[in-house]
């Protein structure tokens, strides 16, 4: 009986020690995982950064800003809407990416532009290209229509 009691106590002691060990192990594991996660995060962030080739201090970092829009209607001399007219912004006080606008079947175009002054140019095969200056203010829509004349 006493032997059984001794064995039971011994078993409880062992179990208790095992529990302590488990807790210590958990703490160690969590600690290591935490430090590892932190270091991994730092490493990944470093990895994402670009190769430091040259300072770009002189370059603006943001070109495009929120602004207004220019929209218009392009027709021929008879008032017929012209589709697939290329609309461009070759010059401006703000640099614009070199996407082009295209008129739809109704001869309409829309171009979101930042606040500034721009040259809007329109091009269509068989017609004389035209351009006009326009000033866009924040939140405003400027209407700019064109009537294209056939090339002689």
């Amino acid at each position: 009986m006493s032997g059984k009691g001794y064995n039971l106590q011994s078993s409880l002691d062992r179990r208790c020690m095992m529990t302590r060990c488990a807790w210590r192990g958990t703490v160690i594991v969590v600690g290591v995982l935490s430090v590892g996660l932190f270091l991994a995060g730092c490493r990944l962030v470093r990895g994402e950064k670009d190769q430091p080739v040259r300072s770009d201090a002189s370059e603006p970092t943001t070109i495009v800003s929120q602004g207004g829009e220019v929209r218009g209607h392009i027709t021929d001399a008879d008032g017929k809407p012209l589709a697939e007219v290329g609309v461009a912004v070759p010059e401006g006080t703000v640099a614009i990416p070199e996407r082009a606008a295209i008129t739809n079947e109704a001869g309409e175009y829309v171009w979101p532009l930042p606040a500034g002054t721009f040259t809007i140019a329109v091009h269509k095969e068989g017609y004389v290209s035209q351009s006009a200056k326009v000033t866009v203010h924040e939140g405003e829509t400027v209407t700019l229509d064109f009537v294209l004349v056939r090339q002689q």
Partner: protein, 347 residues
């Protein structure tokens, strides 16, 4: 009591770790995915078997090169595996095309009348590409793009894989209108002739540096097409280099809006690259609206010819010195993203 102490200690450590972790870059809360590394085998479309939406979520890092898509996915860019060169190879495709009446590329054709300086630097040096069914011209696509609010535009894109087209970030994401609502790509388009038909976009890609910060340093993106036209028209290789030395001739080829609608034009200059910065390559090659997204490329090697080094984005107006046109340089992070996009499984 000890258990409580241990628990408190663990919580403290976790809080400390998460407070020190990098902050999320994007303002918006979106689902995140992580793509698996470039170790997958090739599937039947030539795309490596890579991850997709079904991948496990990951931490959104603070890099402006963090990828975002038009369907709300966001994932971190992959690092280049050590030892791998920064080159993705080109492919000519099968080249199967209908018969086409070809005119010599060098035939001089004047542009439409009207001098508009802008990004045509001095005399217009661009020549029309009459034979758009030869490689690599057929791997360049006219892009017709629609944004919300009736904004319709055009850009240029270039195949980098069976169903993936590289282009400018502003061609897939407008800073005021958001993601394009539809994009149709016409490879090798020659005016009204579309020798390879067309394909609509399945998914659009860009990075937070463009979609959130609107920085021209990160103005690049890609279009995943619904079809695998790249297997027919081929695709460009592309590469990155840390060196700022770019010698020899470079070409920009695309679809300018000051010419006959949807016709392809090209210009090569030697030395092609006149100035270099971390994020851009500057050149005196003439461009115009509509050429955004065009490849800036050269012959680098037998396996990377043509080989893209930048994506054309801006005219002279964006150059701080007002001298040259420019393209988004394919840096290591750009290369990583393009490569990841290239190997995504086709729809």
């Amino acid at each position: 009591m000890r258990k409580v102490k241990f628990l408190l200690l663990m919580v403290g450590v976790l809080v400390l770790v998460f407070s020190l972790m990098p902050a999320t870059y994007a303002d918006e809360q979106v689902p995140t995915i992580e793509l698996s590394p470039a170790t997958g085998g090739q599937d039947d479309c030539g795309c490596a078997a890579r991850g997709g939406e079904e991948q496990l979520p990951t931490i959104v890092l603070s890099s402006p090169d963090t990828v975002v898509t038009n369907d709300g996915l966001m994932y971190s860019a992959q690092e280049v595996e050590a030892g791998l060169p920064g080159i993705e190879f080109s492919s000519e495709g099968t080249g199967a095309a209908p018969e086409f009446s070809a005119i010599a590329d060098d035939t001089p054709v004047p542009g439409l009348p009207g001098p508009f300086p802008g990004s045509v630097i001095g005399p217009d040096g661009r020549t029309r590409v009459w034979t758009t069914t030869t490689y690599p011209s057929r791997a360049i696509a006219f892009l017709r793009i629609t944004f919300r609010g009736g904004v319709t535009g055009s850009c240029t894109g270039w195949f980098i894989g069976p169903c993936m087209i590289a282009t400018a970030g502003h061609c897939v994401y407008d800073t005021t209108r958001g993601w394009a609502t539809s994009i149709t790509a016409y490879p090798g388009r020659n005016g009204s002739s579309t020798p390879y038909g067309s394909s609509t976009a399945y998914r659009l890609f860009s990075v937070t540096g463009w979609t959130v910060s609107h920085s021209w340093n990160y103005d690049y993106g890609a279009i995943q097409l619904r079809s695998r036209l790249g297997n027919t028209v081929g695709w460009f290789g592309f590469r990155w280099q840390s060196s700022n030395t770019f010698t020899g001739p470079y070409t920009v080829r695309g679809y300018p809006a000051d010419k006959t609608y949807a016709t392809m034009w090209t210009m090569t200059d030697n030395p092609g690259i006149r100035r270099v910065s971390t994020y851009h390559l500057f050149y005196a090659i003439d461009t115009y609206n509509g050429q955004s997204g065009s490849p800036v490329y050269h012959n680098y090697s037998t396996s990377c010819n043509p080989c893209g080094v930048a994506i054309h984005t801006y005219g002279v107006g964006a150059d701080p010195l007002r001298q040259y046109n420019s393209g988004t340089r394919i840096r290591q992070a750009v290369f990583n993203n393009l490569r990841d996009w290239k190997y995504l499984a086709c729809p």
